[in-house]
């Protein structure tokens, strides 16, 4: 591996990291402003023009607050838990392609940090590891509400992971590959070749499962304020609390980007040949990816301020008795269709 390739990889990793962090900042503001407009309020609009500097003020505040570590906690694991939550959240984005191939100084640069041929499995592996942060935070706090939150979340994440994985299986059946780039190429062309239209049921199951996996309303039982104070992060303060917050938004960003990649053609623009436009086409593909992802991020916020929370038994019943059988039926139908036609 020559030195230039190494530099390119490092630059790509840094750009993706910076982009996620900036989007997290933007999301904290967007969530509060949009929720305010939905409730006929104004929201934070004092810091900077239109309140745009509010995330910066929040960040400084988080850093300057006293970092309280309660005396009853299990200290090593208490300190480890936020890290174990945020690292998988940031790592997952590494394999999502955010644009077509860039040609610069005679080099073809794939706009993706790592192109691995079992990309989908990598995503499933990392989402399943994300549970540890929440479970360990709940346990190490040595307090009943965080423990309940941690237990709820591990049961919830494991239940919905199954439905999510099975929804992805039907996409893999169509693409015939576990590589995300192959899945995007399979969706190129017309609008109707997007997987949303080919696999509407898988799309529905996947999106619902994603909301459960990211602990967002209507499935945010792990931090239901009315029942659990704050859930698994009740005992955390200062920058460690901020890390839980950042991990939640980073997970939402990755989940939206993944939904776009698997179901909305990724960076692809329908009815357009990006390769013919050269580097302008690359730029347009990145823009198309960003717009689609932003749309899903907006829907995340929209859903949060529209739907009430599920009860825990309803959540489990939905996961095991509705989503799982539906996903299995969908795989059966897709596989049957493919064997009959291909």
């Amino acid at each position: 591996m020559d030195i230039v390739t190494l530099i390119i990889i490092c630059v790509k990793a840094l750009v993706v990291f910076a982009a996620i962090m900036l989007t997290v900042m933007a999301m904290t503001l967007a969530e509060r402003r949009i929720s305010a407009f939905m409730q006929n309020r104004l929201g934070p609009n004092r810091v900077g023009p239109k309140g745009l500097l509010q995330p910066l003020a929040d960040g400084i505040k988080f850093l300057m607050k006293e970092d309280v570590i309660p005396s009853g906690v299990d200290k090593p694991i208490f300190l480890l838990a936020p890290v174990m939550l945020i690292v998988p959240a940031l790592m997952t984005f590494a394999i999502i392609p955010f644009g077509s191939e860039l040609h610069l100084f005679g080099r073809a640069i794939q706009l993706q940090v790592a192109d691995i041929n079992i990309g989908v499995l990598y995503i499933l592996a990392l989402t399943s590891v994300g549970v540890y942060g929440i479970v360990l935070a709940g346990w190490s706090s040595n307090s009943k509400y965080p423990l309940l939150g941690g237990l709820r979340s591990s049961a919830q994440l494991i239940s919905y992971e199954l439905a999510m994985g099975l929804a992805i299986v039907s996409i893999i059946l169509l693409a015939g590959s576990l590589r995300l780039n192959d899945i995007i190429i399979q969706q190129q062309g017309h609008f109707l070749s997007w997987n949303v239209f080919k696999q509407p049921l898988a799309f529905l199951i996947f999106v619902v499962a994603v909301y459960a996996e990211t602990n967002r309303l209507p499935f945010d039982l792990t931090e239901a304020e009315q029942e659990l104070v704050g859930g698994y992060h009740t005992e955390y303060s200062s920058i460690k609390f901020a890390m839980f917050y950042m991990a939640e938004y980073a997970n939402m960003i990755t989940a939206s980007a993944l939904t776009v990649t698997l179901f909305l053609g990724g960076w692809d623009i329908p009815l357009m040949n990006e390769a013919a436009l050269g580097n302008l086409g690359v730029l347009l593909s990145v823009v198309s990816f960003v717009i689609k992802t932003a749309l899903f991020l907006f829907i995340f916020i929209w859903v949060r301020w529209t739907f009430p929370r599920f009860r825990y038994d309803q959540l489990m019943r939905l996961g095991w008795k509705v989503m799982l059988p539906l996903a299995l039926v969908n795989i059966f139908l897709t596989a049957g269709y493919l064997t009959l036609t291909v």
């Binding site: 691995i116 990598y122 399943s128 549970v131 540890y132 479970v135 360990l136």
Partner: protein, 166 residues
């Protein structure tokens, strides 16, 4: 060069964390250390270019099985493990016996030099997912189905045990 450096580093991490899993008296710490052990083991698989195995190691062992272990440990709320006097000698004797058997078998493989250890580089990559899937559904179909039956039996048993209490 870098490959061998990574190998020795992660081999050391694997062995240290594996040792700490056994030596630790706190069950939750042991579980977390075992997760670290699985991760560094996955990196060693990656260095062997066995990407599929590496991901499966994380997906199944670290992602699913250990989460359930942790779940159970937390529900039982075990503190420091109390030494159980009754089984102590039996436990130690049995583990010593198993370690000796394992060590001897590894030693025999090393000394016999039958070529098992000399796999060419990238043996595990060939075909990857497709080859594995095909092998599971053709050559190893019967063991595969028997394993699924075993899981079904375990599932029914769990449901029965849980239902009786309600």
């Amino acid at each position: 060069m870098t490959g061998s450096f990574f190998f020795y580093f992660f081999a050391a991490v694997t062995l240290t964390s594996a040792l700490l899993v056994v030596l630790n008296r706190n069950a939750v710490y042991s579980a977390v250390l075992l997760v670290f052990c699985f991760f560094s083991l996955a990196v060693i698989f990656l260095l062997l270019e066995a990407y599929f195995l590496a991901i499966l190691e994380i997906l199944i062992y670290a992602g699913a099985i250990m989460v359930l272990f942790l779940f159970v440990i937390m529900l039982l709320s075990l503190g420091r493990e109390k030494a159980q006097e009754h089984f102590r000698y039996l436990q130690r004797g049995l583990s010593l016996f198993l370690v000796i058997v394992f060590f001897l078998s590894v030693l025999i493989i090393f000394l016999s030099d039958s070529g098992i250890l000399h796999q060419p580089h990238g043996t595990f990559t060939a075909g990857g997912v497709n080859a594995l899937g095909e092998a599971l559904f053709t050559k190893y179909l019967l063991p595969f189905e028997v394993a699924s039956l075993l899981l079904l039996v375990a599932l029914i048993g769990t449901v029965y045990l849980a239902k009786r209490k309600v």
